[in-house]
């Protein structure tokens, strides 16, 4: 500590250590926050059409166009450490060649930001102002986790590697989420209830009710 430079080095070195420890504590604080998401998704309309993967492809493939309704409550996922939540709806059906594998394709997704990350949203200046004003004064806004979509058009038209999806049985829409924190690890929809996630009982992370394994009859659009 004999000269200014040495003092700067020591202080900065300890600062990085402190920053790391605080970040680790913040990430760990997520583990004690309960997560109880719930969602309800239903298919409203589905069609299978023929189309090209790219403008210049020579082969035409079959694509499924799905319209759905989604009602979800992901508000418990928003903590002070949540930066944004990526929610996506996928259609999945069993693979004809294997009993373990399933085909799964995403039909719709969205990013929900916490107010602390609003400035990162990819929207125009007017929408941005509206977004920031909607959460004025709040640092965490769990109400953004409530999603109500009626007859939502799919963002993506899906197909299978074989190029044929018409008349596929046992298709199911699933809702997934990915919590992206400010500090910490990325977490997705849990497949098993993580006992360590909650210390006390009650942090059940219900994935949601599958719209009862629907057997979709898809007609080829002429």
């Amino acid at each position: 500590m004999h000269s200014s430079i040495v003092r700067i080095q020591n202080v900065f070195g300890f600062f990085t250590t402190v920053a790391f420890v605080v970040a680790a504590l913040i990430a760990a604080s997520d583990l004690i926050a309960p997560r109880t998401p719930s969602a309800n998704v239903a298919v409203k309309d589905v069609q299978v059409v023929r189309g090209r993967p790219h403008y210049y492809s020579s082969k035409k493939e079959e694509y499924a166009v799905i319209k759905f309704s989604l009602s979800a409550d992901l508000s418990s996922l928003f903590t002070w450490n949540t930066k944004q939540i990526f929610v996506y709806v996928s259609a999945s059906w069993p693979n004809s060649t294997s009993t373990e594998l399933t085909n799964e394709a995403v039909i719709w997704d969205t990013i929900i930001t916490n107010p602390s990350a609003d400035h990162l949203q990819n929207i125009g200046p007017v929408a941005m102002k509206k977004l920031i004003r909607s959460a004025k004064g709040k640092s965490v806004d769990p109400s953004r986790g409530k999603i109500e979509l009626k007859n939502q058009k799919a963002k993506y038209q899906i197909t299978a590697p074989t190029g044929k999806v018409a008349e596929t049985d046992n298709v199911v829409l699933k809702v997934h989420y990915n919590v992206q924190p400010w500090v910490g690890i990325l977490t997705w929809t849990p497949q098993i209830e993580f006992g360590g996630w909650k210390k006390v009982k009650g942090g059940v992370s219900k994935v949601f009710k599958l719209p009862a394994l629907k057997v979709k009859k898809e007609e080829k659009k002429a």
Binding site: M1, H2, S3, S4, I5, R7, I8, N10, V11, F12, F14, F15, V18, A19, V21, V22, L25, I26, S29, T79, W80, N81, S116, S139, V140, W182
Partner: protein, 103 residues
């Protein structure tokens, strides 16, 4: 004249402090930064605001740098007592070499 100015600047930039001051600087660095870290986490956790945590942390670190890095006077309260230079001391015993008094 410029030499003297340069010397002053160099002394300031070097920022030498005495040993007791160094001990104090080390103690301050650990205590202040650890406290700042604790406060930033606790305040952020109870107010559920991570941006606040970040600002407190960075602000506290800037404050600690300001407090510890410059050679403030309170770091120099125990200057080292150097012995007087050789040659100016009145001859007392002289130096003994092999039993004989030399120089």
């Amino acid at each position: 004249m410029a030499d003297q100015l340069l010397d002053q600047v160099r002394e300031l930039a070097e920022g030498q402090i005495d040993f007791e001051g160094q001990k104090l600087a080390e103690l301050l660095a650990t205590a202040v930064l650890a406290t700042v870290g604790a406060i930033s986490f606790i305040v952020g956790f109870f107010l559920q605001d991570i941006k606040l945590s970040l600002y407190i942390g960075l602000g506290g670190t800037a404050f600690s740098l300001l407090l510890i890095v410059p050679p403030w006077p309170f770091f120099n309260r125990h200057p080292v007592k150097w012995l007087p230079l050789a040659g100016t001391e009145t001859k007392s015993q002289g130096i003994l070499v092999d039993g004989k008094v030399v120089g």
